[in-house]
C-alpha cells in the first residue's frame, strides 16, 4: 500500500468513527431534547398546579382545572393487572422453553411468542373489542362475581369494557417480552448448576425451581420491569377496551382511563394554552416513569449478565 492510500484509509477510518459517534450521540440528544421540550411546554401547568396535578381528581378543560390522579390510577391498575396475569405465565413459558421443551417444539412455540410481539397494537385493540370484551362480559366477569364476588375488586355490573379487560389485553401484549427476556436470563445460568442439582437426585422441577430460577433472579426481575414499562406506555389497544371514563374505583369491572389513552383521546381537540400544557405534563410524567424504570433495570441487567455470562459457554461440552 502506498503512502497516499494509507492516508486515505486513515481518513476513511476517521470519518467512519465520526459518523457512528454522531449516530450514537443523536440518541442522547434526542432524549435530552424530549425532556427539555416537554418540560418547557408543560411549564405553565407545572407552575400552576404543582403537586395538585398528580393528586387532583378533576379533569375539566372547560374551567381549566387539571388533576391527573384518575389517569395515573388507571395506568397503574391496568398495568398491575397485566403483570399479575402475565408474569407467572411468562416465567412458566420461559422455563418450559429453556429447560423442558424438545428442540422442535421449542422452535414452534418461540415462533408464536415472537409473532405475538409483531402484531400491531390496533389489531389487538380490534380483537379486544370484538372478541375479548364480549367474552369477558359474558363469561369471565359473571364467573368472578359468583366465586370471588365478596371482594370489592370484582363487584359492579359486568360491562366488558374496563380495567379487567384492559389488563388481560395488556398481559397478552407484554407476554412476549417478559418471556423472551426471562428465557435469556435462564439461558445465562451455567449448565454446571443444573447438573449439580440433578446429580444430587433432584427432579427436573426441583432443579428448575431451586437451582435455575433463583440463580438469575435479578435477570428475571429486569424482564418483569421492562414488561411493566411497556404496559405503562401502551396506548392504542388500551384506549379501545378500557372504557375511557376517569374513574377511581376499587372494582376492576369499572371502566377507567390511562394517561396514554387520555392523550390519544384528547390531543386531537386541544386548542392550546393551559390545556395543552397539562396534556404535555402528562406526557412528561409518562416519559419520566418509563425512563426511571429503564435506568433501574439497566443498572440490574448488565450486572447480572456480567456475573453469569461466559459461564454459559461450553454448555454441552462432550467427552
Amino acid at each position: 500500500m502506498t503512502h497516499e492510500k494509507l492516508e486515505t484509509a486513515k481518513l476513511g477510518e476517521l470519518a467512519f468513527r465520526g459518523a457512528t459517534a454522531a449516530a450514537a450521540s443523536s440518541i442522547l440528544a434526542l432524549a435530552a431534547v424530549y425532556a427539555v421540550q416537554m418540560t418547557t411546554n408543560s411549564w405553565e401547568s407545572i407552575v400552576r398546579f404543582g403537586w395538585d396535578f398528580v393528586t387532583g381528581t378533576a379533569w375539566d378543560p372547560v374551567s381549566d382545572v387539571y388533576g391527573a390522579l384518575p389517569f395515573i390510577w388507571g395506568t397503574v391498575v391496568s398495568s398491575l393487572v397485566a403483570l399479575v396475569l402475565a408474569v407467572p405465565l411468562s416465567i412458566g413459558l420461559a422455563a418450559y422453553l429453556s429447560e423442558v421443551a424438545p428442540v422442535r417444539i421449542r422452535r414452534i412455540v418461540e415462533f408464536f411468542v415472537e409473532l405475538l410481539a409483531a402484531i400491531p397494537s390496533v389489531v389487538y385493540g380490534l380483537w379486544g373489542i370484538f372478541v375479548l370484551v364480549p367474552f369477558v362480559r359474558e363469561h369471565v366477569q359473571p364467573f368472578l362475581q359468583n366465586t370471588l364476588g365478596f371482594l370489592p375488586l370484582f363487584q359492579g355490573p359486568p360491562f366488558g369494557y374496563g380495567m379487567l379487560t384492559a389488563g388481560i389485553l395488556l398481559a397478552i401484549m407484554i407476554l412476549p417480552i417478559i418471556t423472551s427476556l426471562t428465557r435469556e436470563a435462564l439461558h445465562a445460568v451455567p449448565i454446571a448448576q443444573r447438573e449439580a442439582s440433578l446429580a444430587l437426585g433432584s427432579t427436573r422441577w426441583e432443579t428448575i425451581r431451586h437451582a435455575v430460577l433463583p440463580y438469575n433472579k435479578s435477570g428475571i426481575i429486569a424482564a418483569i420491569v421492562l414488561g411493566l414499562g411497556r404496559a405503562l406506555g401502551e396506548t392504542m389497544a388500551v384506549t379501545m377496551v378500557i372504557g375511557n371514563v376517569p374513574l377511581i374505583s376499587p372494582s376492576l369491572f369499572m371502566p377507567g382511563q390511562t394517561v396514554a389513552s387520555l392523550l390519544a383521546n384528547e390531543f386531537a381537540e386541544v386548542s392550546g394554552g393551559l390545556y395543552l400544557s397539562a396534556l404535555t405534563e402528562l406526557g412528561l410524567l409518562l416519559f419520566g416513569v418509563t425512563f426511571i424504570l429503564n435506568v433501574v433495570t439497566r443498572l440490574f441487567v448488565p450486572l447480572v449478565s456480567r456475573k453469569v455470562g461466559g459461564a454459559a459457554e461450553g454448555r454441552r461440552q462432550l467427552t
Partner: protein
C-alpha cells in the same frame, strides 16, 4: 420391589406422603423415564412395611451387600457420533477405579452413563447395558432421579450453589423427609467425611462461594455424600485445583474408597496410580486394558497402554 425404590422408601419411611408426592412429581418428567403406575402402589405398600424399622441403618444394610457396576458392550452416541464403541467393564465395590486415557477417548462419557447424566443431552443414545447391583439402569422402569441418589457425582470444576455452606450440603436432602435437625446432623457428618468440618464449622451460614477452590470442591463432595450414595463418580475433581488442594482431595479419596465405590476420571497418571485399586485405560472409545493398577502401570499387557503410561502417547 427393587433396590432403587427400597432405598427411597427407607429414607422416607417416616414421611410417607412426601415419598408418594415426589414420586408423582418424577412421573411428570416422563420424557426421561416413564415409570409405571404400579410402582406407586409398590412404594406405598412397602412403606408400611418399612415404617418402624430404623430407617438409615436398614437402608445401608440392605444396599451395602453388592453395589457393583458392570457395563456390558456399552455403546453411546451423540447424534451419529459413536463415542463408546462397546465397552465392557466390571467395577468391584468399595474400591477406587481410575479411568485414564487421552482427551476425547470417552472416559467422561462412560462416567456420565453410570448416573444417566447424559440423558439430558439432545441426541444422546445408549446401546448395551449398564448394571448397577445387577439391575439395568437404562431399563424403562428405572427412575434416574432415584438412581442418582445412589450414584453421586463430583464435577471437574467445583460447582457449589450460590447459597450458604450449610444450604449447599443439605440441598440434596429436599424431599427425603428429614427434619431440620436431622438435616443439620447429616450435614455435619458429610462435612466431616469430606474433611471440611473443622474449616467451616463456625461459618456454616456464610456463602459457599467465599471458600477457596479446594474447599469448594470438598464442599461438593460433602454435598454428594449427604444424600448417602453407595457409588461416587468423580470427573477429574482436581484438575481445576492447585497442587496442595489436589493433595487434600487425593487423601480424601483414599478414605472414601473404604466406604464407597469410587470411580475416578483422571488425566493425571500419577494421581491415578497413587489412589486407584484398578485402572482402565480408554482409547478412542474402547477399553484397551483393565486390571489392577500395579499391573497396568508396571507391566501393561498392551503396547498402547505402555506407550500411554510411559508418556509416549496422549
Amino acid at each position: 420391589m427393587n433396590l432403587f425404590e427400597q432405598r427411597r422408601v427407607n429414607e422416607n419411611g417416616r414421611a410417607g406422603s412426601v415419598a408418594v408426592g415426589s414420586r408423582a412429581m418424577t412421573l411428570g418428567s416422563a420424557a426421561v423415564a416413564p415409570a409405571p403406575a404400579a410402582d406407586i402402589a409398590e412404594v406405598s405398600s412397602s412403606m408400611r412395611a418399612a415404617s418402624g424399622a430404623s430407617a438409615g441403618a436398614a437402608a445401608r444394610a440392605q444396599t451395602s451387600t453388592a453395589p457393583i457396576i458392570a457395563a456390558e458392550n456399552l455403546r453411546t452416541y451423540y447424534g451419529h457420533n459413536e463415542v463408546l464403541k462397546g465397552v465392557s467393564l466390571k467395577l468391584p465395590q468399595r474400591s477406587l477405579t481410575a479411568l485414564i486415557g487421552p482427551s476425547g477417548c470417552g472416559k467422561t462419557t462412560f462416567l456420565r452413563t453410570l448416573n444417566r447424566m447424559n440423558d439430558h443431552i439432545p441426541g444422546f443414545r445408549v446401546e448395551g447395558k449398564v448394571l448397577v447391583d445387577g439391575r439395568d439402569i437404562y431399563a424403562p422402569d428405572v427412575d434416574p432421579v432415584l438412581l442418582r441418589r445412589r450414584v453421586g457425582m463430583v464435577f471437574q470444576r467445583p460447582n457449589p450453589f450460590p447459597l450458604s455452606i450449610l444450604a449447599n450440603v443439605t440441598w440434596g436432602l429436599r424431599g427425603h423427609g428429614l427434619s431440620r435437625k436431622e438435616q443439620r446432623e447429616r450435614a455435619e457428618e458429610s462435612l466431616m467425611k469430606a474433611g471440611l468440618w473443622d474449616e467451616v464449622k463456625d461459618r456454616l451460614k456464610e456463602p459457599a462461594l467465599r471458600l477457596s477452590g479446594g474447599q469448594q470442591q470438598r464442599l461438593c463432595i460433602a454435598r454428594a455424600l449427604a444424600v448417602r450414595p453407595d457409588i461416587l463418580l468423580m470427573d477429574e475433581p482436581t484438575s481445576a485445583l492447585d497442587p496442595r488442594a489436589s493433595t487434600k482431595i487425593e487423601e480424601l479419596m483414599l478414605e472414601l474408597k473404604k466406604e464407597y465405590t469410587v470411580v475416578l476420571v483422571s488425566h493425571n497418571m500419577h494421581q491415578a496410580r497413587r489412589v486407584s485399586d484398578q485402572c482402565a485405560f480408554f482409547l478412542h472409545g474402547e477399553v484397551v486394558e483393565y486390571g489392577p493398577t500395579e499391573q497396568v502401570f508396571e507391566n501393561p499387557q498392551d503396547e498402547r497402554t505402555s506407550a500411554y503410561v510411559s508418556g509416549r502417547l496422549g
